[in-house]
């Protein structure tokens, strides 16, 4: 079972991964965007890790809701509201439970991902974070590791796509051949989840 502490560690692990990969994310965003995705998420998850540590919300749902609100208040850009909504809506779907299992998380996460689709109006194949999040949500029903692999594969699969949403869509055909920064960071988020699970000895 996953308790609030597990979710705090997930957020901390994401912050660490984003820190490590920030330059790479910005590099990807400079090819088909505006070169800020790395610093955006770095700012956001640094703040998230700090606030969930400080406020120490008592339930998994409260951790993610707080994290989402914090992202919305500190990131800006497209990814702020989108990731903020992902975590907030996932958190809300988790309700007040003190502990949740992977299955429940998978269902809540799928709700969060759906909310991202609704907010941004993107669909699978539009070359956005959804291309990593959708397969991850699906695979999370089976295992943490599978979700991480699905997210990474989904991110990689954005390379040949032409962007239809977000800033990269301005490039038209010139967006083809580059990996989407948001899909790449989404894979980091899900990988951090899998690692947190592995480190905690949680059933994969």
């Amino acid at each position: 079972m996953l308790d609030a502490d597990f979710f705090r560690r997930w957020m901390a692990a994401t912050a660490t991964a984003v820190d490590r990969e920030a330059d790479h994310l910005t590099e990807l965003d400079s090819a088909i965007g505006d070169a800020d995705h790395g610093s955006n998420l770095q700012r956001g998850f640094t703040a998230v890790a700090a606030v969930v540590e400080k406020d120490a919300p008592a339930t998994p749902g409260a951790v993610l809701t707080l994290a989402g609100r914090q992202l919305i208040s500190t990131v800006g850009g497209a990814s702020g509201p989108l990731y903020g909504t992902l975590l907030r809506r996932t958190g809300k779907a988790l309700g007040e439970a003190a502990e949740v299992d992977r299955d429940r998380l998978a269902r809540a996460f799928a709700e969060g991902v759906a909310a991202v689709g609704q907010l941004g109006g993107a669909q699978a194949g539009d070359k956005t974070m959804l291309d990593a999040l959708l397969p991850a949500a699906e695979a999370l029903g089976s295992s943490f590791r599978g979700a991480a692999d699905a997210a990474r594969a989904g991110a990689g699969a954005t390379v040949p796509l032409q962007a239809r949403k977000g800033r990269a869509s301005y490039l038209g055909e010139r967006s083809i051949g580059h990996q989407d920064p948001g899909a790449t960071s989404a894979a980091l988020l899900v990988e951090a989840l899998a690692e947190t699970a592995a480190d905690g000895g949680v059933d994969a």
Binding site: A35, G120, S169
Partner: protein, 330 residues
């Protein structure tokens, strides 16, 4: 790339400290990143709030003042501001007559302003939004993020700002803003890529002897790369791209805008070519504004924005304005 900065992390806060010191006529909340005209809220006046990523100065904070914006919310460099800033700005300028958000059409800006509008309405502030989308280099379809907001933002903020200062009610200010946006189109060209403080190197490689056509204001590459063209050829290309979409039937306002690093000497020369092309196409120019107004940090290049006006819009354009970057009328 060398920059006149302390560290990348503080560029926006540093600039706001500088604005605070240089412009006592503005209330600059450095901590919360909101710039408000000193006398806000003005009784009975609709509040005009805009904002967006930093790096486009003087847009937007340089347009705060009587006759234009009531407040501006600067985000991180090239990153839309967060809803908290917009709600705070709305609260600071609302006199009860409501607030108009002027939003450039980028996913980030649209989403954050949308969230802010909901939050502000929760606080009892009446909020309307106008999304500016004038850049013809981007195809406008439901399968894309839609056209970008660029130079027309200045026209919308100036003209809707004049209407608000005259005491027009919110629905009238909104319809003026929509009319200006609907009558405006832009096209931009880059001679060099942009370098953001966070990245520290150019966002794209632009070899000597080539230019990018149809660029945005965030260092996005354009739609097309071509061998270098003369100022006259660029004017032909840009003006025709705008006219093809706008098809004006009367006089226009022209903004001949520098992207930041192009010398004013060159910009005025380019403006002469823009006038030449418009003359050849039979489009009368009512007013021309030449300068660096909607910029992209250290990018070299220019954009052309045309706005077809009627007598009322021209009157509002000519109305007095008193901001750090745009001032006239007495």
């Amino acid at each position: 790339m060398k920059m006149l900065i302390n560290v990348p992390e503080t560029v926006v806060a540093d600039a706001l400290r500088g604005m605070a010191a240089a412009h006592p006529e503005l209330t600059v909340d450095v901590e919360n990143r909101v710039v408000v005209r000193r006398d806000a809220p003005v009784a009975g006046k609709v509040g005009l709030v805009s904002g967006g990523g930093s790096g486009h100065e003087p847009l937007h904070a340089g347009f705060v003042g009587p006759g234009m914006l009531s407040a501006a919310c600067p985000g991180e460099v090239f990153t839309s501001p967060v809803p908290d800033q917009m709600v705070r700005a709305a609260a600071a300028v609302d006199s009860g007559a409501g607030v108009l958000f002027v939003v450039k059409n980028y996913t980030g800006d649209v989403l954050n302003f949308e969230m802010a509008a909901e939050l502000a309405e929760d606080e009892g502030i009446q909020v309307a939004q106008v999304v500016v989308d004038d850049d013809v280099a981007v195809s406008d379809s439901t399968f894309t993020a839609g056209r970008r907001g660029t130079g027309a933002t200045l026209f919308v903020e100036k003209i809707a700002g004049a209407a608000a200062d005259e005491g027009a009610p919110l629905d009238r200010v909104v319809s003026v803003a929509r009319q200006v946006n609907g009558s405006s189109r832009s096209f931009g060209v880059a001679l060099s890529a942009v370098t953001t403080p966070a990245k520290g190197s150019p966002t794209f490689d632009l070899p000597a002897g080539e230019l990018e056509l149809g660029i945005g204001i965030h260092g996005e590459p354009g739609r097309e790369r071509r061998p270098m063209m003369t100022s006259g050829e660029i004017a032909d290309f840009a003006v025709d791209a705008v006219l093809e979409d706008l098809r004006p039937t009367g006089p226009v306002l022209a903004l001949v805008n520098g992207m930041g690093a192009t010398p004013l000497l060159e910009l005025y020369g380019f403006s002469a070519e823009v006038h030449r092309v418009l003359g050849e196409r039979g489009v009368p120019v009512a007013r021309t504004l030449v300068g660096n107004y909607v910029t992209s940090l250290d990018m070299a290049g220019c954009s052309v924005t045309l706005c077809q006006i009627d007598e009322e819009l021209l009157r509002l354009w000519d109305a007095p304005v008193e901001t750090p970057a745009l001032r006239w009328g007495r």
